[in-house]
């Protein structure tokens, strides 16, 4: 299969054609519209190496994310960045290429923080390996981490090694009634004290907080924070619906914006309904407001806005890059994929 991938890449590069790399297709909606000849990676699947006591798992790109998580769960471990699947067929390769993290991100780190190594086919169909299967490795530039969120524009990610963590012994969800400004204030205050917070979600005046850790620590933190304890089964469903965008907030066809801001940014006051995660650092917004106004507000607050679903993405789904960074992006793209074979337009309209 590896050879057929290489042939497809060589062939496309020779003809000046584009390839659209696709795992489960669960994130086709994300970024610029996919184009090019379809190259499916689902067949290149399977866990290559998993030793729970090493805290590292290595798997092929086509491995279903659900299957990988089940394998880890059987050993009491997890992907701590809690990636959204957005579909039953989501694959590991697509997960890394999209670079998205879920509710635990503010506490545990992002997908990119857990990438230890990767193998990829570059635009010349060369089989390259970077990083490794160990926790600490500073030999060479950190190319494998660069692949996280690259939307497949740098190469076909063949295999990834990720750091995994034990599942917390206990989780508890609390619900508190708080308006937006008070909720942001509380979230930032709690984040500055040693509490075992592992997720937060605020919408329509209700703030939900998840605590994870040793039972004694969770108990002590719950007493400090207060609020109502949410039934455990219900809480599990709630966080998974937030992660998978299955919460009623995400229903309907109003454009969905993803605003990534410093957690302490004051309420933006933009029109439309909000859902706030990551202790204030991730603010979803349903709005038909002018995209430029949304982007400007996010930039003023020290962050950036992505048109995540729906709306008009002709000008690009992501916030424009500063000229110096755009130049570096072009140069790096040319270094990895000189013929421009992989996923053109997905990360940036120009390449």
């Amino acid at each position: 299969m590896l050879q057929s991938f290489q042939e497809r890449i060589r062939d496309a590069a020779g003809r000046g054609a584009a390839l659209r790399l696709r795992g489960g297709g669960s994130k086709d909606f994300y970024g610029g519209a996919p184009r090019g000849e379809l190259l499916e990676t689902r067949g290149y699947a399977g866990v290559v190496d998993y030793e729970p006591t090493e805290l590292v798992v290595t798997a092929r790109c086509g491995t279903r994310l659900a299957q990988l998580e089940a394998t880890l769960a059987a050993s009491g471990q997890m992907l701590a960045f809690e990636p959204p699947h957005f579909g039953a067929d989501a694959t590991l390769g697509g997960c890394v290429a999209a670079g998205l993290s879920g509710p635990r991100r503010a506490a545990a780190g992002a997908l990119r923080d857990f990438v230890l190594g990767a193998r990829l086919l570059d635009g010349r169909a060369r089989d390259l390996a970077f990083g490794g299967r160990v926790m600490k490795n500073v030999a060479g530039y950190d190319v494998s981490r660069l692949l996280a969120g690259s939307l497949g524009t740098l190469g076909l990610i063949l295999e990834v090694s990720l750091k995994v963590l034990p599942r917390p012994p206990q989780e508890l969800t609390l619900a508190l009634e708080l308006p937006e400004d008070k909720a942001l204030d509380a979230l930032n205050r709690w984040a500055g004290s040693p509490l075992p917070l592992s997720a937060s979600a605020w919408r329509e005046s209700e703030l939900r907080i998840r605590l994870s850790g040793a039972p004694s620590a969770v108990r002590a933190a719950a007493e400090k924070i207060g609020g109502e304890i949410v039934d455990a089964a219900q809480a599990g469903g709630f966080w998974s619906r937030i992660r998978e965008h299955a919460d009623p907030y995400f229903a309907g066809d109003a454009p969905l914006w993803r605003l990534s801001l410093p957690s302490h940014a004051a309420p933006l006051g933009l029109p439309g309904a909000q859902l706030i995660e990551w202790g204030g650092a991730l603010r979803w917004l349903r709005t038909r407001a002018d995209g430029a106004a949304v982007r400007a507000a996010a930039a003023r607050a020290g962050g950036h806005a992505t048109l995540f679903r729906g709306g008009d993405r002709a000008a690009g789904a992501f916030a424009p890059l500063a000229p110096a960074l755009l130049r570096l992006h072009r140069e790096l793209k040319a270094a990895f994929d000189p013929a421009g074979v992989f996923n053109p337009g997905r990360l940036h309209p120009d390449f």
Partner: protein, 494 residues
């Protein structure tokens, strides 16, 4: 060393010094021998070279003009922080400018609510935690040189420390780096939000060993200081048992704040030096720190003790108070200087291995001790597989030099063979550049060069470090086949 140092070209030197003096005050440009002497090496003192010119800028604008000027003149530039690096990453260029960031000492902003500190690159690692302490916050990465090393150097090397299994490396704790490319173009990577649009260039910048850009301002994440921390010290009569005990802790679902191993030769060396109370009968000792809320620490300490006991620990001691916790750590933190007390010189390796191969690698090191007739105590960041074997030798004995060099090359290649890496946290620099040829294939090295080219097309920033040329690897491979000493005319070793 015994090899002639490259001679500084005095005509070129005068030209470059004059160009820099056109906009830098006299105190910011050094070129006379005695003034430049303190910059001839970093923490890897075996490699020395007098820089042609030293520039000590005081403002960002000066950094930009230095880079522009050197770029225009085609002069290599080597950035330097506190000079504590252990891989020769700041070894000066004999034909270029050593750019010292030592005067960039200001804390620009400390925001307890946002939990960030914005600092200049010359600020010391430990100083960040000191200024954050009144707010109950700290900067997590704690390399053992933290009282001296600078945050700029930490970014260049992606420095770790004893707490990185739980709290991550520099790359996990830096939010933003502002700086300049070699041509003087301002660059801004990352931000105070948790991500940025486009490729994660911040990840590329961290650990790039000063080859991609010069950092002038760094924003770091501050974490709430854990309320409680305690250490379990466990003795084992066999190093492999100690290794298995580490795996057992992880298998029990515990991520300790720190998990360190020292073998018997290492504990004997440090015990004479600091008296940390280590068990000298033990073949290996483990230090396992647990932190968090007090209730949680009690719960986990009990679990760790139980796991160690089941794994065959011959003695278990738990720190009773903060003073005792620091005492237990004092030996580990003094491991390097302690080696300096028992041997004229020591050479520190930095390989990382999958933990399950520990026994095999330690046996291999034991065999190498016999083969080369040199002692090699081991300290080990056991939680994350990062080994620091310390070869003891006498640099005045040329035979020992050669043997040390071959010993370390064999160990690093063993690390690669078992699926590990030649450097976990000290960087490649000039020191491990030949082993890069063993770790990476030509196409991978080519891609590294292409990445470098995207940032610095003329290859003027910290040239000759980090990534070997393919020619050099071909040369190295040939010498390797001959099984001879790794000699390079241009680089004095040890």
């Amino acid at each position: 060393m015994g090899e002639a140092l490259p001679v500084v070209d005095s005509v070129r030197q005068a030209e470059v010094a004059r160009a820099l003096r056109a906009f830098l005050p006299e105190r910011c440009v050094l070129w006379q021998g005695e003034d430049t002497r303190p910059y001839e090496c970093d923490g890897l003192t075996a490699y020395r070279q007098l820089p042609m010119v030293v520039a000590l800028p005081e403002t960002e604008e000066q950094v930009q003009r230095i880079l522009r000027t050197c770029h225009a003149l085609g002069v290599p530039v080597v950035p330097r922080g506190a000079g504590t690096g252990l891989s020769g990453g700041a070894l000066p260029p004999g034909d270029g400018v050593l750019l010292s960031m030592a005067k960039f000492m200001r804390v620009m902003r400390l925001d307890p609510r946002a939990r960030v500190a914005v600092v200049q690159p010359g600020v010391r690692n430990a100083a960040i935690s000191d200024i954050a302490a009144p707010f109950g916050l700290y900067y997590a990465p704690d390399p053992s040189s933290q009282i001296a090393c600078s945050i700029g150097g930490n970014v260049a090397e992606n420095s770790g420390g004893v707490h990185c299994l739980k709290y991550g490396l520099t790359v996990h704790n830096v939010l933003r780096v502002r700086g300049y490319a070699m041509d003087g173009e301002p660059l801004d990577f990352g931000g105070e939000a948790l991500d940025t649009p486009g490729l994660d260039l911040l990840a590329l910048m961290v650990g790039s060993e000063g080859l991609l850009a010069v950092a002038t301002e760094i924003t770091v994440k501050l974490l709430p200081k854990p309320v409680a921390a305690r250490v379990v010290m466990a003795s084992f009569d066999d190093v492999e048992k100690a290794g298995d005990a580490v795996a057992a802790v992880i298998a029990a679902g515990i991520i300790p704040a720190g998990l360190e191993m020292m073998d018997q030769p290492a504990t004997h060396a440090v015990e004479q030096f600091v008296g940390a109370g280590y068990d000298l009968e033990a073949q290996a000792i483990l230090l396992c720190e647990v932190d968090g809320m007090p209730e949680e620490v009690e719960e986990e300490i009990a679990k760790v003790k139980e796991v160690f006991a089941r794994a065959g620990a011959t003695r278990l001691t738990v720190s009773r108070d903060e003073a005792e916790r620091l005492k237990f750590w004092s030996g580990r933190k003094a491991a390097f200087p302690a080696m300096g007390r028992i041997s004229p010189d020591y050479y520190c390796m930095d390989g990382t291995i999958p933990r399950k191969r520990l026994g095999e690698v330690l046996n291999f090191i034991g065999a190498m001790e016999k083969k080369y007739g040199l002692r090699c105590p081991n300290v080990f960041h056991a939680g994350d597989g990062n080994l620091h074997p310390l070869i003891l030798f006498d640099a005045n004995d040329p035979g020992q030099l050669r043997r040390t060099e071959e010993f370390s090359a064999e160990v690093l290649e063993k690390c690669i063979e078992v699926g590990g890496t030649i450097t976990g946290e000290h960087g490649v620099g000039v020191e491990k550049i030949d082993q890069m040829c063993a770790q990476f294939r030509p196409a991978e090295l080519e891609l590294f060069h292409a990445v470098k080219h995207a940032f610095d097309p003329r290859g003027l920033l910290n040239p000759g470090k980090g990534v070997p040329t393919l020619t050099r690897c071909a040369e190295f491979g040939r010498m390797h086949v001959h099984g001879g000493a790794l000699r390079h005319a241009e680089l004095p070793r040890f």
